[in-house]
Symmetry: C2
Subunit: 413 residues, 2 copies
């Protein structure tokens, strides 16, 4: 596989028995930094994530090609190779073990009964391959009555840890919280753990298990609130979800504009910005207004200030407020996805980068958000077709043409 | 500083010129895995995060102790040492350079004009300390007209990247998105980058700059949608935010219960669970109902199924649904923070762990979500008081008692 010698993880071999979002994204981080990542998929059906994006047709059980650009798949699985393998067969497992023998990292999100069935539990693999780092994602942790419960970030992280509760309006259905928002965070955590285990293996030569869970990741993301419950026994949500007019600081609130858009002010340390803010919005007369001239006074008279700002922001379009506020005070428009993609800061900093895709042509993908100045993440190859590298990998690992034909005949690959 | 020899990052020295949430949390990850992290704070005022938690009094400019448990501070800064240092003075900078001389990692979220002012830009430090890894967080990337704009995750990640847009109801004010939800993700990304740079430095002996930005992290978390806009030029939000009755799959929706709680079903591959689901909820007659017996039929008659399920879930309390659904199908109650903290899976898997705090007594903190089996993250010391280790560190780095008195007299520390 094409690699750049300057990549941090050049020479690191990763084998991934996982599908959908979180663990494949962890593998993608390693791949972006130069690891050789082999993504193992069930024959015929392949990874469910191949047909699981917004607007995608429902599950395509025949595994045929979708007619559209498979962009989620592309962004979660670039830089990898794909081999199909039926792990329920002896020969499938034998091939897997052969791939694992020189591997540095094994990544999986299988549930414990599946790991047993396929003989890929940590203890089994650690005994066979002591140098192997075993990266594991669980839904609800590795112990307890729900250790084998089916998990998705929507239920295991979003709803269960309290994110759905935080972002909800009384009387309205809560959000589903989909879109792999928890998976992408878990992926960073798992990739971090694997990197730490690689650092350690340099010294000891021995691998270990690295794990995280979607539930723990959700709790971690909510440290701000969860640590409060731990310390006080009380739910601290109210602080962030007061009705706007009750907020002690009107300078950290969303306001609607004349064209029915919204912007968000963010001046928690409001004394630093108050005069600048008044000048920027063209309300200089407020600077020395006795009701508002200090953060204490603004809290005392917060509802009055909220009403003034609400009315005033409604008097002009978002574009005008952008011109006045940008660079002057901490604020942001609420951007939709089209605007985010066109954002000058996104463009100038190359957060989205062009990629010549062999099938789709020139497309844009999201660059890795983690950057190293001397050995930046690279995009070398597109996400693989299902089983695209099956033969290449089997030959590379010492199988012969007639082995491959036999595996195909048996449905192993 | 007390360390466990078995920690992965034992012996790694980190110096942190950063405050509030994201970068200190990146430093905490390194500290949890055994690094010696020195957190540098401005004298007198200290790190703003010390007084910035739900229900906290407004900014306490005198820097006096809050009367309550400072749990956010505690969870973002445990395992570190604190030194106060006025970086605007020559002697403050001299001390910083002395700390950096044997350091492995420098972490900062200063803006570029501040880095220039304090002479801690990457080029300066890389030239002086070629082995030093320089970990940087930006709000909107390191280039462009807003590279120096003030940044918080609310504005730079949540509102700007499109998270606030995704989680919004038409006609209602969007959420502020606070609570360091983007900061905690950026922290994982930065810690991952630093770990990769450490892996590389083993080979080359040379450090490099590692960076990420809150905006890029938000775009990354939204890969699901942003990659769609990149590929199609269209906004794919609708898929996740259809009115519930219009959803093609009623088995991935939130439903209200009799006691006005909510639960979330998550069966995107619904054929795998349909009969089990019908049995679990006690609606066996639906299994072979011609309107619903396959995913295609359920999509065709989705509104009818949605109405049946809506009515049926409203007929019983959440506790009864828990008993029926748990372990049978992928689902979760929407838990509030109190429930999340009491969750048996959280407890059995020790996601929250007791800590004997010298000032607060026994308290619970959130364990690191990234776990290594042989050298797990540890909690060794509480988050430091402001400047708690100033003298200890200065003595350790070769200053004498009379130097320290002089620094104090000059306001350097």
């Amino acid at each position: 596989m094409e690699q750049t010698d300057r990549s941090v993880l050049h020479g690191i071999k990763v084998v991934e028995v996982a599908q959908v979002a979180a663990v494949p994204m962890a593998g993608r981080h390693l791949a972006d930094f130069g690891a050789d990542v082999i993504h193992i998929e069930p024959p015929v059906t392949g990874d469910a994530w191949r047909n699981w994006q917004p607007g995608a047709p429902q599950q395509n059980v025949e595994g045929t090609q979708s007619p559209y650009i498979n962009y989620c798949w592309e962004n979660f699985n670039r830089n990898k190779r794909s081999i199909t393998l039926n792990l329920a067969t002896d020969s499938g497992r034998e091939i897997l073990y052969r791939l694992l023998s020189p591997a540095d990292v094994f990544l999986t999100n299988l549930r414990s009964f599946e790991r047993q069935k396929f003989q890929v539990e940590y203890n089994t693999l650690h005994q066979k391959f002591p140098h192997l780092i075993y990266g594991s994602l669980y839904g609800y942790g590795k112990a307890g009555p729900e250790k084998d419960a089916p998990a998705y970030d929507t239920i295991s992280s979003w709803a269960r840890a309290g994110l759905g509760y935080y972002f909800s309006h009384p009387g309205l259905p809560p959000f589903i919280g989909g879109a792999a928002l928890g998976d992408t965070v878990a992926a960073l955590g798992l990739a971090l753990g694997v990197s730490l285990a690689l650092i350690n293996r340099e010294k000891t030569g021995v691998g270990q298990e690295v794990d995280t869970s979607l539930l723990h990741i959700g709790m971690y993301q909510l440290t701000y609130f969860i640590s409060g419950v731990c310390a006080t026994g009380k739910d601290a949500k109210d602080w962030g979800t007061l009705p706007r007019e009750k907020s002690p600081n009107p300078l950290i609130l969303p306001y609607e504009t004349k064209d029915n858009r919204w912007l968000l002010l963010s001046m928690p340390q409001s004394d630093r910005y108050w005069p600048k803010f008044c000048i920027a919005i063209g309300k200089e007369e407020l600077i020395d207004d006795v009701r508002f001239f200090s953060s204490e006074k603004r809290t005392e008279n917060s509802e009055a200030l909220f009403r003034i700002l609400t009315e005033f922001f409604l008097s002009r379009d978002l574009s005008e407020w952008k011109g006045r506020l940008s660079g002057a005070v901490p604020y942001s428009p609420y951007q939709n996805f089209l605007e985010a993609v066109a954002d000058p800061q996104v463009r100038i900093n190359n957060m989205l980068i062009p990629f010549e895709h062999p099938k789709y042509g020139r497309m844009e993908v999201i660059d890795n958000p983690v950057r190293l100045s001397d050995m930046p993440p690279t995009i070398r190859t597109p996400a693989p077709e299902i089983g695209q590298h099956t033969e290449e990998i089997l030959l590379e690992y010492g199988y012969r043409r007639d082995d491959i034909e036999r595996f195909k005949g048996e449905g192993t690959v």
